[in-house]
Amino acid sequence: MDFETVIGLEVHAQLLTDTKIFCNCSTQFGAAPNSHACPVCLGMPGVLPVLNKKVVEYAMKMALATHCTINGQNVFARKNYFYPDLPKGYQISQFAYPLAEHGYIMIETGEGPRKIGITRIHMEEDAGKLIHDDHNPVSYVDLNRTGVPLIEIVGEPDIRSPEEAAEYLRRLHEILVYLDICDGNMEEGSFRCDANVSIRPRGQKEFGTRTELKNMNSFRNVQRALEYEVRRQQYLVENGEKIVQETRLWDDAQGVTNPMRSKEEAHDYRYFPDPDLVPVVVDEAWVADICAGMPELPQAKRERFVNDYQIPAYDAGVLTADKALAEYYEEVVKLCGKPKIASNWVMGDVLKFLNEEKKSIRECPVSAKSLADMIGLIEQGTISGKIAKEVIADMYATGKPPQDIIKEKGLVQITDEGELVKTVTAIIAANPKQLADYRGGKEKLFGFFVGQVMKATQGKANPQMVNDLLKKMLA
């Protein structure tokens, strides 16, 4: 049977505010357990939440970036359930009246760009963390994360394959990081994803029974988990078995999904408006203010790169995947004026070196100025493209500007015609047989002579001049 996959993703992103959503505690990751916890975090009797306005502003940025409608009045609600990492016995979230609704983002697919709907974006507080003792039946609670602001981005079931799911996540992640509202660190849990997945015979309108997948902490794992789950559901259907609506946990080591204990998901959250907080009123002036402060988003940047720099869409995609990389590239272009050549060097050598060491562009030893200078030296004919490969490796290793490296290593290109004529004459004289063969019609041997000249000059000969001389002198 031919099946269609239907996927909807829920993303939780931690916002990069300095303080928590409802108190003044720090949001810093990695501090000693419970060192960023106050009576509000602890849910002590009589304490009250006061909303951090920054959280609303950050969430509004994401709402605008994903083409959502911002609700002029949105309301915090209590989601009630018992768990030791949830001090109040309820999470303050939004339910009936979220911050924003009805948005979308564009993703690239094999069949071209596709619009994936965003159902809603709402603000909420994160829970704490349980630490289980490996040797004793004891668990500890760390409430540093309690009250760290989150936005939940609920996507429409518009995604049709695990690859599209990964692509959607990458795009969302990219926007969050571009907006500087989330650090996007999946391992530390700043960017988390749950997936709803079902299958249906192609052409059928109704959705199949869905399962919810949790515990995937990388884009790759999201894709793997979905691929596994789609196969599992197909197997069940093809064997006449029923798909059970349930929550399943991804087991990374085994590469499978397993059902969560049903007890853990049998919740009636009893949402109701939180009487300790007043509705958040967002007027047009506030939205306009946030709009005015929005940075250029990746999609727009990609389009601008293609149009203004005349580079391929693929290059634009790579160069804008990281905002800092895009800034680096633009700086190089500004200084050297050669967008396509700059793109080749940034995407080829610079990124290769960085990836080998798992470094980000911020840590790159080659400054934009040095790279631009090097491109200029090639253009002026001071070094050849081949030598430049050597030079940039040294620049990356030492952080020195290209001029210094060229001087120290004597890599300046030979452009003195007299000197080159001497070398070419000597090479021709030393290879009479090859000369005869070439003149006899073996034109392939031209390359042999080029190679010999380059070898004799340690690659420093200007290749164009070598070509011209050989053509003249071999004839």
């Binding site: 602890l42 002590m44 009797p45 009589g46 006061v50 009893r270 949402y271 300790d276």
Partner: protein
């Protein structure tokens, strides 16, 4: 001289004239407590040592001439407001050893105004009750008849004032918990507008209804207390940034040109005839003070109790979820796993009335019932609020009985929650509408039990309440008595 009998303003005058010291006042109050506390049981905890130290500090302040509105005045706090370093129990087993590391905003304000804290007063567990019988620490008795309840939930704060075990006290009112015990104990009690007095540090029962207010011996003292308590608090999101007048300037004004609204829905069958007679007399007295009487209608009154007993338990079921034995407070021993720890802790830690309300509230919010209960109740609540808005277009204040009967006997209604709930029938509406209300003594039953009259006003019109209550109080018609303890 029995200093403990005096009002705040009388004591202030004596302090200013150098007739008495704060220490003398404190000692007088504690000697009174020694004499009557065994009969009344107003307090869960006395703070004698701290009080005497604070009184000594107050005397230093007085000497330096830095006298504040409450300098040297002994004040009792309902054990629902958090006091830093002092156990705050909320009348419950589950918090019986809980020591907050912070002060409620009202505690900070009272301390800054020079108050001397006498102790933490008894209350119905988590403020759920109308008789102070559900306290984990045992019942409080009515000073006018120790066989009877003092009202609740702020029973201890009412009796502490009525029995002169403090000069004034703090209570909290979610459905009448200040006004009802004030009426039954013959003292003045005010529930301010929702948002007028900070709730920070007030242990929550029903967050959209809870409000802190004072118990005092007369209306002028109520104004003095409100001057200290009222005001915006950035620590509370529902606190309102509205200007706070000097409430004392409303004392002693007449009622010329005033219109007093009498809502027909509040004068129903089932009101004790002695209460009816006392309230009828009050209406006549207010008329003689210069006001005219207008009949008004609050047509959704009959739904108030039902709406309240959905909204309050719903919020409570969520507010009380934090008492889970994990971080502070009582934790049951011998649990085999997490779920058992929760169950045992809450089964053993909460009393029957609290559990009843948690269950009602959980039910009202649960999937499939939310719309029919909580959703509908919220809609009716909006109608109740509108009734008042319309009524206050026709009158300055509304006059009603505070309670349908005088104080009932201890144990009389403990087995009949519905009867118990009806004792708040006249006070609940003010909480649902968020408006202020005051209860003032208006007479006695034949058997000598106090009866109270309630005045209600529009949002942030506490001044009007003080004006009408003070004018009424000063009229010759009101009988002054003291409990024979």
């Amino acid at each position: 001289m029995e200093l403990y009998r005096l009002t705040i303003h009388a004591l202030q005058e004596k302090i200013r004239n150098g007739e008495v010291s704060a220490l003398q006042i404190a000692e007088s109050v504690f000697s009174r407590i020694d004499a009557v506390e065994g009969l009344v049981h107003s307090y869960i905890r006395l703070m004698k040592e701290e009080a005497l130290e604070a009184a000594a500090r107050a005397d230093e302040t007085i000497k330096k001439g830095g006298i504040q509105p409450l300098t040297g005045i002994p004040i009792a706090l309902k054990d629902i407001v958090c006091t830093r370093g002092i156990p705050t129990t909320c009348g419950s087993h589950i918090l019986h050893q809980f020591v907050p590391p912070y002060n409620a905003t009202v505690v900070e304000k009272l301390a800054a105004a020079g108050a001397v804290f006498v102790g933490k007063t008894n209350m119905d567990e988590f403020a759920m009750g109308s008789s102070t019988e559900t306290s984990y620490f045992g019942p409080t008795r009515n000073p006018w008849d120790p066989e009877r309840i003092p009202g609740g939930s702020s029973g201890g704060s009412a009796t502490a004032v009525a029995a002169d075990e403090c000069i004034a006290s703090i209570g909290s009112d979610t459905g009448g918990s200040i006004r009802q015990p004030a009426a039954l104990c013959g003292v003045v009690g005010m529930k301010p507008t929702y948002g007028r007095v900070s709730r920070f540090g007030l242990i929550a029962f029903a967050s959209s209804l809870d409000q802190i207010g004072p118990f005092t011996k007369d209306v002028e003292d109520c104004a003095i207390m409100m001057n200290v308590l009222a005001g915006y608090d950035p620590k509370e999101s529902t606190s309102v940034k509205a200007e706070v007048p000097d409430y004392r300037r409303f004392i002693g004004r007449d009622l010329q040109g005033w219109k007093i609204g009498i809502p027909k829905e509040y004068f129903i069958d089932g009101i004790d005839p002695e209460v009816s007679a006392a309230v009828a007399k009050t209406i006549e007295t207010v008329r003689q003070c210069g006001a005219s009487i207008v009949e008004i209608s609050l047509q959704h009154t009959k739904y108030c109790v039902a709406v309240y007993y959905i909204i309050a338990p719903a919020e409570a079921s969520s507010n009380l979820a934090r008492y889970d034995g994990v971080r502070y407070g009582f934790r049951a021993a011998d649990a085999r796993d997490l779920s058992e720890m929760y169950q045992k802790t809450r089964r053993q830690g909460f009393g029957a009335e609290v559990k009843r309300r948690i269950m009602i509230g959980t039910y009202a919010l649960s999937a499939g019932y939310y719309d029919a209960y909580y959703g509908k109740a919220s809609q009716v609540r909006a109608l109740i609020r509108r009734d008042f808005d319309e009524a206050f277009a026709q009158c300055d204040v509304i006059l009603t009985p505070t309670t349908p009967t005088p104080a009932f006997k201890i144990g009389e209604k403990t087995d009949d929650p519905l009867q118990m709930y009806l004792s708040d029938i006249f006070t609940i509406s003010a909480n649902l509408a968020g408006i202020p209300g005051i209860s003032v003594p208006c007479g006695f039953s034949a058997s000598g039990l106090p009866i109270g009259v309630q005045f209600l006003a529009g949002h942030f019109e506490e001044g009007k309440l003080l004006q009408v209550a003070s004018a009424y109080e000063k009229s010759a018609a009101v009988e002054k008595r003291r409990p024979a303890l």
